[in-house]
Amino acid sequence: MPGGREILAYSDAVIGPDRSVLDRARLDLAGAVGPKAVPAAAAIAGNFTKNDRIANGIGIPSELPMLRNSRDIRAELGINEFRSAANTRKHYPDEF
């Protein structure tokens, strides 16, 4: 993917604690993908920090079709080990 490395570095830095790392990552992202990529990536990072807090704060479970289509990748990436998996596991234990 064009700019994949820079996008990942920016995504890590924008929710991380080191402002100087973020400042470097922002410049690298703009250099690799273009200046419009910075507000786009910031908006997506913001949106998903919102959604992650809403999902974990309200205790919603994943939908069954999503669970059934993600069994392999969840296991491969260790997503089933996230503490917030408890909100889904308690309703759909057979899908883990």
């Binding site: 993917m1 064009p2 700019g3 994949g4 996008i7 990942l8 920016y10 995504s11 890590d12 924008v14 929710i15 991380g16 604690p17 402002r19 973020l22 400042d23 922002r26 703009a30 993908v33 273009g34 200046p35 419009k36 990529a37 910075v38 507000p39 786009a40 990536a41 910031a42 908006a43 997506i44 990072a45 913001g46 949106n47 998903f48 920090t49 919102k50 959604n51 992650d52 807090r53 809403i54 999902a55 974990n56 704060g57 309200i58 205790g59 919603i60 479970p61 994943s62 939908e63 999503m66 990436l77 997503i79 089933n80 996230f82 503490r83 917030s84 408890a86 909100n87 889904t88 309703h91």
Partner: protein
């Protein structure tokens, strides 16, 4: 002069305008909290992030909070703002045992989540956090949807149509909507503001399953999903 006119990077007009409105709305009475209470929640959310080093305190943060929040409320705000991956059902139980109703709890989750969204955006484009407004007088509306009931989340939600009736049709239409869309529906104002941000920052719900749909000039759908997936993995969001 727009909200992000000091940005070195081009910010879409609809994002700029929406953030200006949503930050200002924190000063108004909500459904269950007064303007002073809502701004106290916002201020605590930011202080927790400053303390954790994940946001930088701006020179002008706006007027200081006029009220002190109960410890149980401060605790839930701080945990949700800083370490959402460690936010568990016990956290919710502690908050409600500390005196919060489900309706108040949902409004606070909405404020913390939306403010974090807008603050991460500001930090992401390299501008200081925008100041919070001064509280405005007035009483909460105390609007609760009649059809809200306990489904599978910790708090009541408005079911999909037809079970959700006019509440569902008015908020999210008659087609099936996943929990992430309906999660804040116990407090319709919070639902609407969450949904506005969703549609403006990410993409319209009707385009979610269109793989090559592109909302950003200069940033492909695949690049969008890479950011989304990485951030959610770091936050350990199973959903």
């Amino acid at each position: 002069m727009t909200l992000y006119s000091d940005s070195e990077y081009p910010v879409r007009q609809e994002i700029d305008a929406l953030h200006a409105v949503q930050l200002d709305q924190l000063a108004d009475p909500g459904a269950w909290g007064t303007g002073r209470q809502r701004l106290a929640v916002a201020g605590e959310c930011r202080r927790a992030c400053y303390d954790a080093g994940i946001l930088e305190e701006p020179e002008d943060a706006g007027p200081p909070s006029e009220i002190e929040l109960p410890d149980a409320v401060r605790g839930m705000i701080r945990k949700l703002a800083v370490t959402p991956k460690d936010y568990l059902e016990e956290s919710y139980r502690e908050a409600t045992a500390g005196g919060l109703s489900d309706e108040e709890y949902v409004e606070i989750v909405g404020i913390v989540s939306r403010l974090t969204d807008m603050d991460i955006f500001a930090r992401g484009i390299g501008v200081p956090l925008r100041p919070l407004p001064a509280a405005r007088d007035g009483l909460p509306t105390r609007v609760r949807p009649k059809t809200a009931r306990k489904e599978l989340a910790w708090v009541p939600t408005v079911p999909n149509h037809p079970e959700g009736g006019e509440d569902a049709a008015g908020m999210f239409g008659e087609s099936y909507k996943p929990y992430i869309i309906r999660s804040l529906s116990l407090v319709p104002d919070e639902f609407r503001r969450h949904f506005e941000l969703e549609e403006t920052h990410y993409l319209s719900v009707r385009n979610v399953t269109t793989e090559d749909h592109r909302d950003y000039d200069g940033f492909t759908r695949a690049q969008v999903e890479l950011v989304a997936g990485r951030v959610s993995a770091l936050n350990e969001c199973f959903y």
